[in-house]
């Protein structure tokens, strides 16, 4: 029982990452009708906003320490971050410690700009083009974005720890009456889950309760008619793209303490997030979220030893297996709308 609760927690956590990426992807699918292979790259750029924030806060001046030697025998260069010299060592260290959450402040404007530039500069020329062309151009863009990041940050993963306050894990087991250590869960992962719920909730509320959202939803359903009503749907779609980019970017920032970011992390998520979106059903936001959490939880269960010992390797294929079963039993995924990307 404790093992099952544990994997549900893991699944919720994996699921929130999948759901957040899939949410942005399906927004772009649904509103713009564009297959965006660069969406994983947006997630990756978000993660590197956290890295940049960390670098920014760690900008240092160098003093030579004659008492210590570096690897070549020269006096050791000691780096002191400016932040620490401005705010004092304690306050400065605390600010640096919080660089990942602070990076959200950087990520939102950066991602909105990236989103607008991408949509206006490139994507808008491809609305009327076949999906295959969209795949080619966005895939090319994803490679270019990756290579730029690789050029500046290298190929190795870069550690971006969570603030000290969130280090360690919480013992759920004791709370639920199990043995100590039976169900432990890291604080930061709980933060991530809560963050995902808030973001998903905010996006839904935005689409549901604002006029802007209403127009966009109308546009998703029937773009032509909305255009005929004299509403400038294009500008809203640009903003929608920026919103999707911002969601992906924030998901990336918050994900960095869980896994050290590297330049190809976007590609690692790309295929999975497509599977999630399609299993959820094309053009359905709730479907994408539901599929994200469902696949996350199933993946967590499949990695349990008890299951792996019966079906070796099941954890490697579970997501694809479930995708096949769902797509064969429900023609448009869980909650897909008729006629969206069925040709």
């Amino acid at each position: 029982m404790d093992a099952i609760i544990l994997q549900i927690l893991n699944g919720l956590d994996k699921g929130s990452a999948y759901a957040l990426i899939a949410l942005g992807l399906t927004l772009i699918f649904g509103t713009l009708g564009v297959v965006n292979f660069a969406h994983g790259a947006l997630f990756m750029i978000g993660a590197f906003c956290a890295v940049s924030m960390q670098r920014l806060l760690n900008l240092s001046y160098i003093t030579l320490d004659e008492t210590q030697k570096d690897f070549l025998g020269n006096p050791l260069k000691v780096k002191t971050p400016y932040v620490e010299s401005w705010f004092g060592p304690d306050m400065g260290a605390a600010i640096i410690d919080w660089s990942v959450p602070l990076a959200i402040l950087l990520a939102i404007p950066v991602m909105i700009v990236v989103g607008i530039v991408m949509e206006r500069g490139l994507i808008k020329h491809f609305y009327k083009r076949p999906h295959a062309d969209q795949i080619l151009v966005t895939f090319g863009l994803a490679i270019v974005l990756q290579e730029i990041i690789k050029h500046y940050y290298g190929a190795n993963p870069i550690p971006t720890p969570a603030p000290d306050a969130f280090k360690g894990s919480f013992d759920f087991g004791v709370m639920l009456g199990f043995d100590p250590n039976a169900i432990i869960y890291p604080y930061w992962r709980m933060v991530y889950f809560a963050f995902a719920v808030v973001i998903i909730g905010a996006v839904f509320a935005f689409l549901q309760f604002t006029t802007f959202g209403m127009v966009v939803r109308a546009g998703m359903a029937d773009r032509e008619t909305v255009g005929l009503l004299g509403i400038n749907i294009n500008r809203r779609f640009t903003l929608m793209f920026a919103l999707a980019a911002a969601v992906a970017g924030m998901a990336g920032v918050m994900y960095t303490p869980i896994n050290s970011p590297n330049y190809h992390m976007g590609m690692d998520f790309l295929v999975l997030s497509f599977v999630v979106v399609v299993v959820g059903g094309m053009g359905s936001l709730p479907g994408a979220v539901l599929a994200g959490f469902m696949l996350g939880i199933l993946e967590a269960f499949a990695s349990m030893n008890q299951i792996k010992s019966i079906l070796p390797g099941i954890d490697q294929i579970i997501i694809y297996l479930v995708a096949i079963v769902i797509l064969l039993t429900r023609p448009r995924g869980l909650m897909g709308r008729k006629g969206v990307m069925e040709e």
Binding site: L6, A155, N156, P159, N181, I184, I258, S303
Partner: protein
Amino acid sequence: MSKFHVSRRGVLRTGALAGAGLALPTYLRADTGYLNAPTGSSVTLGFNVPQTGPYADEGADELRAFELAVEHLNGEGDGGMLNTFSSKALQGNGILGKKVEFVTGDTQTKSDAARASAKSMIEKDGAIMISGGSSSGVAVAVQGLCQDAGVIFMAGLTHSNDTTGKDKKANGFRHFFNAYMSAAALAPVLQKLYGSDRKAYHLTADYTWGWTQEESIAAATEAMGWETVNKVRTPLAATDFSSYIAPVLNSGADVLVLNHYGGNMVNSLTNAVQFGLREKQVNGKNFEIVVPLYSRLMAKGAGENVKGILGSTNWHWSLQDEASQAFVKSFGTKYGFPPSQAAHTCYAQTLLYADACERAGTFNPCGVVEALEGFEFDGLGNGPTLYRAADHQCFKDVLVVKGKDNPTSEFDLLEVVEVTPRAQVEYAPDHPMFAGGELGSCNPGA
């Protein structure tokens, strides 16, 4: 004007250095009896390293070491480990009087791409030796290719037992250590520090290298009294290891062994520390994590999480022997940071190859093989070393290292806990973990 040349095995291809524009296009095809025999004033080596993909940084470091080695062979720079190398056959005038040139390629850490790249070096650029690489799958694939084509393969970073075990080849040589040696070196240290009554839980990357390391570590730790609670395979593509790590604490194990490398290692270690495993007490003992194969480049990716965690490594820049110091100085002066173990092994391999050619008096792979087999040397940073004839594996001391608690710089991440002497990590060539393959005989390709 035209003349046909028929060769039965392999493309006979001589001289001409693509792109360099240095070699004269003279096609004096003397019947040298081996493939790609250098005819001009230079000889071409092929350095095949990952330049794209997750190991690109490691590949870049390997390439830096190759460039440095070529410089030193050609008599430029400060000579590095040429000055400390026990064999004095190399003169600093290239190899056998021929200037060393090199071509580079991208393995992408994929067997197919690596073989394509190596083939183009052999077929197009006339490379006489291929070196480099950052994974065992690639090493085995390229080694097989070099055997078939008839050139020498000097393996880069490859840690799987198979490279000199069941997939060993007469034309292939490995300087790097292997999983068995890691286990043999680590086990006594683990016993000393953590006691002989421990329960280990293995998380293993689900591919060849992971399996051989899991097998090696489990065998060595069980021999000293540890119990293996569970061995769990994790998908190579996994990025989030939470669902594999979460059950560890409740399994009764008090040691977690992470048979992961590269990005897998960074993520699984980060996740394990995140779950607070290291602050826990199990069976009345502190919970411990072990990463059998350490790489400084990768340790950097895991940041603070490596502190106090034990592992093994082929070489580390903080070693104080004369040879290591010379290499670090040479590399550090040129590039501004200390070399990684991958860089070290690639540098050493290049020197060893060049030296073997000098001593053999020929570039003929069969001559090189003969010169390297059973070769005893010193002064390349690992103490006295033997290139064993039976399987073309180097035998040398192994370093047991620990993540440093108070690093003084971004490179100062590991400290050497113990230098395990060579005798302790040696094994018979027909050891069951290495059995099954056949070295075959050297292939000169023509």
